[in-house]
Amino acid sequence: MLLSIIILTGGRGDSVIKKEMIAMLLAGGQGSRLGVLTAKVAKPAVTFGGKYRIIDFPLSNCINSGVDTVGVLTQYQPLRLNTHIGIGIPWDLDRNEGGVTVLPPYEKVGKAEWYSGTANAIYQNLAYMESFHPDYVLILSGDHIYKMDYQVMLDFHKSHNADVSLAVMPVPAQDASRFGIVVTDGQGKVREFQEKPEHPKSNLASMGIYIFSWPVLRDALIALADQEGCDFGKHVIPYCFNNGKKICAYEFSGYWKDVGTLGSYWEANMELIDIVPEFNLYEEFWKIYTKNDIIPPQYISEDAKIYRCLIGDGTEVYGDVSNSVIGSGVMIGKGARIHDSIVMSGSRIEDGAVLDKAIVAENSVIGKNAVVGCGEEAPNREKPDIYRYGLAVVGDDTVIPEGVRIGRNTAACGNTVPEDYPDGQLASGEILDKVGASG
């Protein structure tokens, strides 16, 4: 006992950092189903709801739940994520002890490896977790929109004497085969798992949120150290299950949205415009925090027409905008018409341009009188699974030249020039990729 105390105190005098629960936030995934939206940024850094980024939701949930130690695991395109997180000031996660720490993969003696799977990423950061002497570790992913009090889930975990708790929620029966499905005994204890089953036995889907008792997680990760692409859903949870650990399902009933596809991403944004949206950002008691780069108010001009919109700070509107979500610092020129669309921060929609069911990512320019989203739908020739839903998607830092017409189920990214558009158009179902990044 004495020996362990000596080890614990190493280098810090008598005080030992002790956090009951720390969070590990998986933010390294590309999110390839978002197509060109994630060409330059990791999925958690994609903007959502005008001024937020997807990662703001789990980070805000953490601080609102009293979890003040968060390790963010990054790998794919981390620049924007790193600048966004910084030292955690927007979420009050700039702490003397704990706070937010960005954890990229690193080289070790004799080997250097990427994070090969979700659990492998956590395994490679055992030392980080150990330094906080946690009792519980919360595993989160950076691609869901929801508000959840993790403390309530922890209470559930404790009161059920669980080794592992997973958050689950009921999904419509026809969607159940897209998720990991959990079958419980009615008391919360998990009896069976089905990973994306053809014939689901229940409608409780795993939300990718786990609380582990620390020794259980540590032992499982060490036991599975050599597992290639070690993944929570595929390896760690089954391992714990097969070793007789008590796994419980915490049923969550609030709003939760996976924004992993362009369709669900667009839909979740549009839902925010409802008069009283199911997911309400205007509540005082569970604020969502984000890094505010732009402070000034937005300006709506004499000629502008605005109908059912969310508009971010510092945006100037001279055209017509309806049923749309507009980010911060956007410029919408005279005579421009934007309908059923998402325009992310820093983009410029020039005079007379038309957007219809379009998504325009950050810092892009839509030239004068260009039309994004027009004509009949046609399935995308190369990536019909990604570019569908009738959406026209424009990537980050993209230039769309004056007067061109872009069809539906399309993607465009990079500095495009008029020569890229035969007959001045990009037909429905085509991809125009000048940076080699359309996913």
């Binding site: 001024k51 000034p296 937005q298 300006y299 709506i300 969310l310 508009i311 700070d313 911060s328």
Partner: protein, 372 residues
Amino acid sequence: MRAVGMILAGGNSYRMKELSNKRAIAAMPIAGSFRSIDFALSSMTNSGIRKVAVLTQYNSRSLNEHLSSSKWWDFGRKQGGLFVFPPTVTADNSFWYRGTADALYQNLDFLKNCHEPYVVIASGDGVYKLDFGKVLEYHIAKKADITVVCKQLPPGEDVSRFGVLKMNENCRIEQFEEKPMATDANTISCGIYVVRRRQLIELIEKSAEEGRFDFVRDILIRYKGVKKIYGYKIDSYWSNIASVESYYRTNMDFLKKEVRDYFFREYPEVHSKVDDLPPAKYNPGSEVKNSLISAGSIINGAVENSIIFKNVFVGENCVIKNSIVESDVYLGDNVHLENCIVESRDTIRANTYYNGDDGIKIVIESDERYVL
């Protein structure tokens, strides 16, 4: 930057009428998402000043809240920082700040302990952007004792609430009148001064000995023949907000594209405390024209030529014209406002009508919200 900043933010003015019942002038909300003092603080931090003291006295609660963290202006540093100094009782002083010079005198220890050779003194009621580095260069080049930042107002403008000055061809100030009833000059002092720190300490100590407490009257005017006091003319936007009319006009100036571009889009930017508010929301029924709308607001009615501050709810069929609605205001359905300034945290009941007619009406209604 070899200067320390002092911001005189203790003042009140009867010209602000009811608006100053709630807060010091330096904390007046400006342009939707700023407060007046942000402009002085931002100019200082953008000029590379690392250490700033804000001297507060009158009704400083709101101002203190705004300054509760120095990180928004990048003053949260190990070297320098943002300090707020209200008057305190000490062994040899039991007075409030009896004037601007007295405020500096009561904080003389702070000035003495600084190592920066120069001091930039500014007030908290100006809306401007200024590179103090340039003013300091000018001050050094002129071998001035004090440099006064000044601006020429268009002829015919009322200057009676400013310090009015006349300079010779070398820009040395020869005449300086404080708030004259009638004058033929139209160059006014912006209330921004650069002075060598040792020089300032000496002048302030001497004035205090003589029982003189006002920086303008007892130092600038009294010493103008003895000390080399120079004027530094600015042509860029500058506006003082310390009267209801000028407060209203300054806010409305932000509806002009060139003013917005200057403050919001041109480098360097103006910093302010960040409130974590969602984007503004426009519901069916909203009809907004030529207006500024701030974060967190929900618009259901018509807004024209107006400034809507943060977290404002505009009910259905409202008509808001030529008005300023401060933060956290709830406007019930069918409210009609013209030429008004609605005080923050107000709750205006449905079907209320207010019109400032030719003047500007200050609307203060603190009905409890849950009653509605």
